[in-house]
């Protein structure tokens, strides 16, 4: 009897591991998507965007100058 129980437990464990393995790519995709902005609030992301917009403005100003 104990042998049957051990076998059932191992069988269940293998099935759970297989299921988790199958879900890994999905979880990985979700995590990767979040990595860049993980933990940032809307306000923090807005401020980062603002900095990038300022940098672009500086480059665009340079492009319009008469200097080569």
């Amino acid at each position: 009897m104990p042998e049957t129980k051990t076998s059932e437990t191992l069988d269940s464990l293998v099935k759970i591991l297989m299921l988790m393995n199958g879900m890994m790519p999905i979880l990985h995709g979700l995590l990767e998507n979040e990595m860049a902005t993980v933990g940032l609030t809307r306000q923090e992301r807005y401020e980062l965007r603002k900095k990038l917009i300022s940098e672009t403005r500086m480059i665009a100003d340079d492009l319009q100058s008469d200097e080569s």
Binding site: S12, R45, I53, Q64
Partner: protein, 156 residues
Amino acid sequence: MRFHRQKKFIIVLALICLVGSQTACPFGVKTDSDIEKVEKKLDQTANGLNALAKTARELYRQNVINLQERKLAGKIIEEANDGLEKVSDRVIQIDPANPESVKTGKIDVEELLRKVIAKLNEFNLGNQELQLAVQAVVLTVNEAIALVKLVKEVRR
């Protein structure tokens, strides 16, 4: 009996994973709200305009475009960038929990985004590299418009 127990366990595990992927959970996996999807698209647009400006600078250094063309590229990029800043400033004011704020915000943001596209469509220097970069930015702005239309109020 044993089969039913396993089946139940697997169903419960699958449900936990599904709920976990749709809501905030301890290690940061959460679904973006409608407004966050728009904001992420604005981040992409800001990056696209930045790349466009750097491309124009590089093409001038390599004598692919002349000074007049560089100036024109700079003028259009600056105006589109100013337009994007207005969009960004307007989006951050939208309160997803306030139906009136969402309704008026969506109209304003869509209008401002269309102005950015109109500005970018003036860009035509005949240089294929620049034109492709412009089209990439236009594409992200169009995607942002589509996402803005889908924004719904969030009930708290």
